[in-house]
Symmetry: C2
Subunit: 248 residues, 2 copies
Amino acid sequence: MTQAASVTAAVLIIGDEILSGRTKDQNISYIADYLSKIGIDLREARVVPDVTAEIVAAVNALRPRYDYLFTTGGIGPTHDDITADAIAAALGVEISEDPRVIYLLLERIKPEDLNEARRRMARIPHGAELVKNRISAAPGFWIGNVIVMAGVPAIMRAMLDEVGPKLATGTPVIVETIAAGRLPEGAYAAPLGEIAAAYPELSIGSYPAFRDGGFHNELVVRGKDKTKLASAAAAIKSMLTELAKARA
Amino acid sequence: MTQAASVTAAVLIIGDEILSGRTKDQNISYIADYLSKIGIDLREARVVPDVTAEIVAAVNALRPRYDYLFTTGGIGPTHDDITADAIAAALGVEISEDPRVIYLLLERIKPEDLNEARRRMARIPHGAELVKNRISAAPGFWIGNVIVMAGVPAIMRAMLDEVGPKLATGTPVIVETIAAGRLPEGAYAAPLGEIAAAYPELSIGSYPAFRDGGFHNELVVRGKDKTKLASAAAAIKSMLTELAKARA
């Protein structure tokens, strides 16, 4: 929508199944990548269990700190789906069955199948906009700066596609990745630190990966100023070349 | 070591690269699974950037609440590796170069290669025990109830293997997973909620997965009491069988 210098966000993953190890979370990295591409800086992520007090505390810790708070999980029809009520409690607003959702559900469910459990999915905090999705009838919702999405990755992605174009976005971050080959971090840490200190507006990271019995490191430069980014990347490449020569 | 009824933990993932979407976190799910198997309940996870104030705030929010706090990331030799100093700041203890780490580093690094950057990996808060690992020379450490590990998954896992046998563990959780086939959540939510209410000491969850154009749901019963778990699982299976018959 509008474009600001910096737009920030947090993610709150709601679900016992992530903390028990049963389900590997896929949503943090997907949302991180999605937001990064549209210029929104993901600054924090949390995972909490299906416990109302924990959800309320996390929502109220995160929503004042960032421009957006995205939540995933806990909006289905079963007893452990308590997110909508927890969000209403956190925001201090009423919640009740929303006729707009009943309408959406009846597009896919026969009236005789609209049982009490399914009606729970129609509980929406007052003042929220619905976030529809192309996969399931039950919507997420958007209230204040909190965007509530499903936990099932395919449905969460469909909801994110729905809200994405409506988000305020910042200047997109440009990323340049430079392979350090087999050079160990300790060999380039000092000169890299000097380059990082010379470009305080950029984020310069060193990311070691360990495979096949050795390190394969990558240096990543991230920032919004194309000229400075190119200049820092050139400094890093020339530093690595010098080091590699000296070690050869 | 000792076995208590309930031992709890939190995980703090430290690293810009997870929040930018560059790196998919693999550590939360691995640690969740590892702890679950030895009877430690992971209750919360957070991801914060490489910013001292954020690390300190998260450490001091989490360590009083849980029996253990595991951190990953930020203990290498580069400028963005600030975890050890942040932990010392959070705990209000001194930090300096630890001769035990210098000794470990010199087992793998030539004295002339032990530059200033690599010496940074020897900065350990006073009073910490070292957490060695079989892959890299640089250790993690354990201070109070905070266990500080590397971010590289292979090294983190080696460190977890090192500390695992020394942790106080709880009664292991038993898990039974029951496939709901193509039954939609809305069809079994009400009877499942009744079963969950009848077994308050168990955690009963419904986990929808969406693939090949349809839902494939699983019901998971978790708990420490084998008899109650078997009884709840039997109730769920018979409920699902009845429902499937009624719909056939």
